[in-house]
């Protein structure tokens, strides 16, 4: 089998001079597939995402995309390589309008971004109504939609989402998962962290359970769902 499109291999590292949060954690996703990371709070899921995106200095391990080693690229350069990331917290530009937030997502694009903006508005209709409003004045769920919309604006080849559905109402969440599937079908690699694990694993091609910075379980989404132990301890029964 060829190497997966995105791979973060044996990543070890932490914040500043503190202890290692990640301890040899490995994540990989094939092109056009969805990988979902679940795990208890503080397991290092967000840290792993940041590591893949180069926002953390790894002590060892590597990150590769399409076979190319990008371990030492800055986050900016990774954006240029077609990666997009929605962080878990502070993931919008609060004083800019919704529309400007989306435009910033497309900062590196030189083509016409109107159609993409329209697509995002179609996906999250509420944002169309609020396009002229400062994003910081939105409700929690609306912000989350802006954050995901911003990442989609990049038209990335790799999309990384850290708990995109936190605080989002069920109907929007369903829309969002639908859209994620669609995006994946268009050939985009998706890596996401989810606490709504059951819904997420349902659409996942691959699932990781992370515990204390290590891979505890790995399998297809269905396999993990089927595993009693995993269900009980991580997915809430």
């Amino acid at each position: 089998m060829a190497e997966p499109h995105l791979i973060g291999e044996a990543m070890t590292g932490g914040y500043g001079r503190g202890a290692d949060i990640l301890q040899g954690c490995t994540l990989s996703v094939d092109k056009g597939q969805i990988a979902v990371i679940v795990g208890p709070n503080g397991a290092g899921k967000s840290t792993a995402m940041k590591a893949v995106f180069g926002m953390l200095n790894l002590r060892s391990g590597s990150v590769r995309i399409g076979g190319e080693d990008i371990t030492h690229l800055s986050p900016q350069d990774r954006v240029a390589k077609g990666m997009a990331f929605v962080p878990q917290t502070s993931n919008i530009f609060p004083s800019m309008t919704v529309e400007e937030n989306l435009e910033m997502g497309a900062f590196l694009r030189r083509d016409d971004i109107r159609p993409t903006i329209e697509q995002v508005y179609d996906l999250f209709p509420i944002l169309r109504d609020k396009r002229r409003q400062a994003a910081g004045e939105l409700s929690g769920g609306q912000r989350q939609q802006v954050a995901v919309g911003r990442a989609l604006m990049t038209q990335p080849s790799v999309l990384m989402l850290d708990e995109p559905t936190a605080g989002v109402s069920p109907i929007v969440m369903d829309e969002l998962f639908d859209r994620i599937i669609e995006v994946a079908r268009a050939g985009i690699t998706i890596l996401m962290v989810e606490q709504n694990a059951r819904q997420a694993l349902e659409i996942a091609d691959k699932g990781y359970v992370l515990v204390q910075g290590c891979n505890a379980y790995t399998g297809t989404g269905a396999e993990l769902m089927a595993d009693d132990e995993v269900r009980r301890t991580f997915l809430g029964g």
Binding site: V79, A84, N91, I92, F93, P94, E100, M104, F107, T154
Partner: protein, 337 residues
């Protein structure tokens, strides 16, 4: 009738026009302060001295031009030298950023640390300016000083009161208007401008959007250089250049930026005029105007002055505080760190 005209002319000559001139000068300075606050998120105490440095650079170039016999007709020669002055100041600011501010940015230091750091930079720049051009008064204005002066006006209209309009006043007003319009357009409509606002909002996320922070910072400093130098030169043309005065300008400039709402360019302009007019108006002695307007027997014997000029500075600050009490983030909604 002529009495009414005289009263109007006196009021314009001593209150409206000087207030507008000073207001525009403060506004230009406040634009710079507010921009740094808006994008780089700290109150830059070195701004007054940046203005002084820019002005000094321009003066040196002006002298060079004058010695070569270049002049700009009825406009001051300094305006030709201005672009060079801006360029030199830009280099200085970029250098300062590299040598000083960048470190704290990387550290994600608290804004107040940057404020203190900017005080350090202020000391150094201050020393630099005094060192190069000295501490004395430098007069570098040439060209025509007046569009119309008081005597000409009196002769022209036959009124008792004169009205003087200085060319620098006009230039300053026009420049301030253009600067704020440009800045507004730049920040709200251009890609680079928006990326600067994005950077100020959420630095990490800007990074994730592919915005190059160093570029944003560099562009900001260059704009600051242009604003500060222009403000400084126009002020210097109108009054004169002296390092100490430029340092003193900092306080009213900050007041203007804050009363208008920190981080808001329109606010900076409004704030400049509020501060300037409050200084002039509250301490104005209405005696003369009333003498024109009231019948002989009602004429005031006293000065009809609300407060003596001793308190002019206090008054402008009092107004500032009152504005803040009713609008806690300034006239135009400003940001707060």
């Amino acid at each position: 009738m002529t009495d009414i005209l005289n009263a109007i002319v006196a009021l314009s000559n001593f209150v409206l026009i000087p207030g507008a001139a000073y207001g525009a000068q403060l506004a230009l300075g406040a634009l710079g302060v507010t921009l740094i606050y808006g994008i780089l998120r700290f109150s830059n105490f070195a701004h007054g001295d940046t203005m002084a440095f820019g002005t000094m650079a321009t003066i040196l170039v002006t002298w060079g031009l004058q010695s070569m016999g270049v002049s700009f007709g009825f406009l001051p020669t300094a305006l030709i030298a201005l672009p060079v002055g801006i360029a030199i100041t830009g280099l200085l600011l970029l250098g300062t950023d590299r040598a000083v501010y960048r470190f704290y940015r990387k550290q994600k230091a608290a804004p107040v640390v940057l404020v203190i750091v900017s005080i350090g930079v202020m000391f150094v720049m201050n020393g630099l300016v005094r060192f190069i051009i000295g501490v004395g008064d430098v007069n570098f204005a040439d060209g025509a000083r007046f569009v119309i002066n008081a005597r000409q006006f009196r002769e022209m209209t036959g009124l008792d009161e004169g009205l003087a309009i200085r060319s620098t006043t006009l230039i300053t007003l026009i420049t301030a208007a253009i600067a704020v319009a440009l800045l507004f357009w730049f920040l709200n409509k251009t890609r680079t401008g928006k990326s600067m606002r994005a950077f100020s909002d959420n630095e990490d996320l800007a990074l994730l959007s592919g915005i190059n922070p160093e570029r944003v910072v560099a562009v900001t400093w260059l704009i600051i250089a242009a604003l500060a130098t222009t403000a400084g030169v126009l002020y210097g043309l109108d009054k004169s250049f002296k390092a100490f005065t430029y340092f003193q300008l900092l306080l009213p400039i900050f007041a203007a930026a804050i009363v208008g709402g920190l981080g808001n360019p329109l606010g900076a302009i409004a704030g400049g005029f509020v501060i300037a007019f409050s200084e002039v108006l509250v301490t104005y002695a209405w005696k003369k105007v009333l003498e024109y307007l009231l019948p002989e027997n009602l004429e005031p014997s006293s000065l009809v002055q609300l407060l003596s000029t001793d308190y002019k500075f206090a008054v402008s600050f009092a107004i500032l505080i009152i504005v803040l009490l009713f609008k806690p983030t300034g006239l135009f909604k400003g940001q707060s760190v």
